[in-house]
């Protein structure tokens, strides 16, 4: 946790590809899960005695159930294309943080026990026995991967290290060697409904507080409803949105958009979490269990649509997996995709002209946008490929006058992870989080200096928390991170809104021109 434990990399004009320095990060491992946290998820509480055979059996099981794993383990030709693409490698110089270096930790074992060449000519093909040291190495380095998929963009075979990391974590869990952060959180969701362990009454309190704040500020009674049966829309949002900064300003924004759109909506206390850490640990079963809460909430509340708040990996599970894991959602209104992203909803409202927006409300800022890794490379918004990159920018440009993109190699499908995704957003992994943020921090610093950028918008709870924590390490300010819906919230002029604490003569009439 303390800054003194490691050195924050210095920001240069470019991130140079470093020369390899072996084992710079071998010392870093996250806290191991306590037995309860493992057993809650149906994993053995502690490292089992026959871990060797169990781990191999699990690897065998997984490669028979996941084509990605089998094909990816076989297909790598060691071309080196991915070697300089991982933010964790760029920030640490450790070759085992190169995507292929990370994959090989598992591939070596796969080759040794499951391929002809590895069984009979291990030295020739770099196959290695599974030892206790291997396990520790897996535990260390597979928890230094944020499953951001940047490497998969550049792989000629589309090999995705995230899939390998997930498999490795699933193997570790299956022998009782789980990670505290992820497993504790999943257990909390199963018990209480969200990652933070906020029970229903606390949620109700928080939402009531938000209603009061918004009414104080705008004079409009915007509702932030909880467990309202028969509402049109179930909003599922990361629980950080309920209290963390800057997240909560985004939640305020969602409420204002729903209010102006004239739809009824609700949050569910039972499914009060968008994030699904089951993906981080590669567990289909756990991912499904968490997803089914959303299905149950939608059924119990009798909603017609499901909308997800701003969150990265959550949107991946929601967009790409929810229908498969917890569908079919034939009980919802077939006119809308299941689920929808809040940005799809807001962009639709903007296009229809349903929102009155005063862009100048954000004139104190020059914005840039951080594409969240899993949104950019694992999902879509809208009906065209790439909508996940365009729609957030469209919304920002609709509510802000000043927007600049960062360097093109650091955004879009090539975006760099914030450094805290994939189950790494925990203080015991601070070193890798700070070092892994180097490429993003460099790109941000550059647009700050060259284009006068003051703020960076993000659409992921993890990105927001991570940047808030990491920016100060690089000499920047934690308040530079904003939600897109915070910007929307600033710009939106609610119907019947009083003009607030500035001038009285403008902005309070419904028919005012928002751009005037």
């Amino acid at each position: 946790m303390a800054k003194a434990d490691f050195e924050t990399p210095e920001l240069q004009e470019y991130v140079d590809v470093p020369e390899l320095v072996e084992d710079t990060m071998v010392h870093l491992s996250p806290f191991v899960a306590k037995p309860d946290h493992n057993t809650d998820l149906n994993f053995p509480g502690e490292l089992v005695e026959d871990w060797h055979d169990k781990a191999l059996a699990k690897l065998d099981d997984l490669r028979g159930r996941f084509r990605s794993l089998q094909v990816y383990l076989d297909s790598c030709v060691k071309c080196g294309s991915c070697t300089d693409k991982c933010h964790y490698f760029l920030g640490t110089k450790d070759p085992k943080n190169m995507p292929v270096g990370r994959q090989d930790l598992l591939r070596k074992v796969y080759r040794r026990y499951f391929t002809f060449a590895g069984k009979y000519f291990p030295k020739l093909v770099g196959a290695k026995d599974l030892t206790r040291e291997t396990l520790d190495e897996w535990y260390s380095y597979y928890h230094q991967c944020s499953q951001c998929r940047r490497c998969s963009v550049f792989c000629p075979y589309g090999i995705d290290t995230a899939e390998i990391s997930m498999a490795a974590r699933e193997i570790l869990d299956s022998i009782g060697y789980g990670q505290k952060y992820c497993n504790e959180i999943i257990a909390k969701v199963n018990k209480i409904g969200n990652n933070l362990g906020l029970p229903g009454p606390a949620l109700a309190d928080t939402l009531e507080g938000l209603e009061e704040d918004v009414e104080d500020e705008t004079g409009v009674a915007v509702k932030y409803p909880l467990d309202v049966k028969g509402a049109d829309i179930l909003l599922v949002t990361p629980s950080a949105d309920f209290f963390a900064e800057p997240h909560v300003d985004g939640l305020i924004g969602y409420g204002k958009v729903f209010h102006e759109a004239g739809v009824s909506w609700t949050i569910s206390s039972y499914a009060s979490e968008a994030a699904n850490f089951g993906m981080f640990i590669g567990s289909y079963e756990n991912m499904r269990r968490v997803s089914l809460r959303i299905r149950k909430a939608a059924l119990d509340l009798g909603v017609k649509r499901i909308v997800f708040g701003e969150c990265g990996h959550a949107w991946r599970v929601a967009y790409a997996f929810l229908n498969t894991l917890a569908g079919p959602f034939d009980f919802l209104d077939p006119k809308y995709p299941v689920p929808q992203h809040i940005l799809e909803f807001t962009w639709d409202q903007i296009q229809k002209g349903n929102l009155k927006l005063d862009k100048s409300a954000n004139d104190d800022k020059v914005l840039t946008f951080h594409d969240s890794c899993n949104v950019a490379r694992a999902t879509r918004m809208g009906d065209k490929p790439g909508g996940q990159l365009e729609i957030p920018r469209n919304v920002i440009k609709a509510v802000c006058n000043n927007f600049v993109d960062m360097h093109h190699d650091t955004i879009g499908e090539k975006t760099f992870c914030c450094g805290g995704g994939g189950g790494l957003l925990t203080d015991d992994l601070m070193e890798i989080r700070v070092k892994g943020a180097l490429p993003r921090m460099t790109a941000l610093k550059n647009v700050m200096e060259e284009e006068g950028v003051t703020h960076m918008a993000a659409i992921c709870a993890i990105c927001k928390s991570q940047f808030t924590k990491v920016l100060p390490y690089y000499g920047m300010d934690m308040n530079q991170i904003v939600s897109i819906h915070q910007l929307v919230s600033e710009a939106i002029i609610l119907t019947g809104q009083n003009s607030g604490d500035e001038e009285d003569e403008e902005g309070d009439e419904e028919d005012d021109d928002p751009d005037a």
Binding site: R67, C82, T115, S152, Y284, N323, P339, P385
Partner: protein, 242 residues
Amino acid sequence: MSLFFSLLFIVAALVMVIGLARKIVQYARTPAPLKIPTTPAPVTRAGVVLRLFREVVFFESLFKSTKWTWLFGWMFHLGLLLVLLRHLRYFTDPVWLPIQLIQPFGVYAGFAMVIGLVGLLVRRIFIDRVRYISAPSDFLWLAILIIIGFSGLMMKFVAHTDVVMVKEFFTGLMGLHFETLPLDFPLIVHLLLVALLMLLFPFSKLLHVPGIFFSPGRNQVDNPRERRHLAPWAKAMEEQQN
């Protein structure tokens, strides 16, 4: 000696075909339980075919990444393709017109192939990141391919082999008639290594050839909201739990 080569090539061909078929069956039978295309991804089947085409023919993703590796890799693969097509003349009689027409290009392709391979080898030796991830087999593959290419070019430009005999040998072999081979040193090296390559194909990283077509990151349609994508084992689990 010729008999040895006859038997060797029969075994090598069988191992390669059966071995590859088994891997392809394995890939095809292993379910992909979730939609994981690297996005932005095509939303239609036709789009996926186009994406794979660009990937297989132009090495699109590699091009995005490292221009030198792309250049050498693409030179090698395209060269190899033309060389293989050129070699069809040893297996067909009469030789198809398109194969006749590419004969001169096939020769240039032989050079391109070897240059590409040498480029890849230099890269593997001198770039620390690539050297770190290389096993002995990764160097050996390059060496095998370079020697195959070099010995082939030797026969074309330095020490001619009796290609008519070679053709008789292989066309005969295809009908299981064992003919004699001209026993020239470059030819023996050439054929031994080609047979070795065929034997090892299904057990090595050459599996990237079928692998690319089965990579969920590249071959999936991006339509998870429209359609469920339930694997058989996931369906069974669902039925058991519900």
